[in-house]
Symmetry: C2
Subunit: 254 residues, 2 copies
Amino acid sequence: MTAADATSAAAEIVTAGMLVIGDEILSGRTKDRNIGYVADRLTEIGIDLKEVRVVPDEQDMIVEAVRALSARWTHVFTSGGIGPTHDDITADAIAAAFGVGIDHHPRAVEILKSRLAGRAEINEARLRMARIPFGADLIETENGMPGFRLGNVHVMAGVPAVLQAMMDEVCRTLKGGRPMLSKTLDAERGEGLVATPLAAIQKAHPTTVIGSYPYERDGRYATNIVVRARDPAALDAAFADIEAMIAEVRAKYP
Amino acid sequence: MTAADATSAAAEIVTAGMLVIGDEILSGRTKDRNIGYVADRLTEIGIDLKEVRVVPDEQDMIVEAVRALSARWTHVFTSGGIGPTHDDITADAIAAAFGVGIDHHPRAVEILKSRLAGRAEINEARLRMARIPFGADLIETENGMPGFRLGNVHVMAGVPAVLQAMMDEVCRTLKGGRPMLSKTLDAERGEGLVATPLAAIQKAHPTTVIGSYPYERDGRYATNIVVRARDPAALDAAFADIEAMIAEVRAKYP
């Protein structure tokens, strides 16, 4: 790879961090389903999720995590804490993290009014959901109150169906990187038999990332081997070596 | 509360951080199931899980996260990256984080030998699983290779069944704090109707933590309200106020 190629390849890498906000995940009461969804969507559009943090509904911890992730990765995605109740403090924490003010956003108030029309009255608590940090853009979906984007931070709801609608909307607007391609092969043998040759193959194919995922079925250990790369030729070359290695191991340990 | 009481109460608070290690979680290929298990078990024994991080199979990121979590919380629990393959780098990263060496641990080698006896040969890759940082204690379970504890960091496997066995073993040895008690009430009304009075109740009961979790069923919004406290009397007092408030809201909005 020439220096120019390396620069162009580096420019194509788009990264992300995710912040899950909520006491209920840390207490175990609610099992997170948002990390997997965000990870899947980002992988599809060629953005590398590099770090996830889960923090409680505490302003200091949210501010610290948002700042750390925002400084480090191209994008940050948050889930949780944007409802109308006293424990929904994400919008205020994001405003604090960026050192900006926060107030009712005219378009968010309009969305709230049209959603409630004929069904319920506007009250102070519901208006809380229309509080958006200064300078933020709304993330509007067909149903429900909007999330928002401030700088490189995309702020979404915690309820999985709502988060998914917001994430889909955000993904339409993001410039993805060169997608990470992947191929998987079931070695049908335990990790202990493939580990040494697999390490050699990883070494011989440094532009690929080879992962090994053991599982047990009917008392027998087996291993899924996943090779990932942005360059299809590099992917195929590593995969061919893995196939040949597995064939050898299977022949030796039938 | 007197100053002595406050000190004694603070001494009873035991905290934890968790570190999930693995490219496969960040790519979305594997959906994490370990955070929820660790959270549940810690809540049961009165330890507050305060922060979770998910990082890739990269030594720098593991070392940085282990150091940050280990310095901040009473205990750290890690999952993933302790198998025999080249991408299993957790043991080396933990040794690096603590600045200690690493080598084959006699007891871990013995466990490996007895597991493989009559089934498979010992090879270099399998011996890799017996590499344990100097100064660490093993976390032994009935089946499988051991995890280990170094300082306040408990290192466990990523495969859920194995993690669960290790976590159960660790929990038997931990001194828990005063457990966080909780009570839940379904308001059967949307958050918009309960948010304002609920905020007032939270303010009136500062030693409790009141959370509000909206859900939708058959197109109707409802809210689970969870109150948590270490002191049973404080819990009951806040819960009684919430019950009275909900009865009022239900009567007003039938």
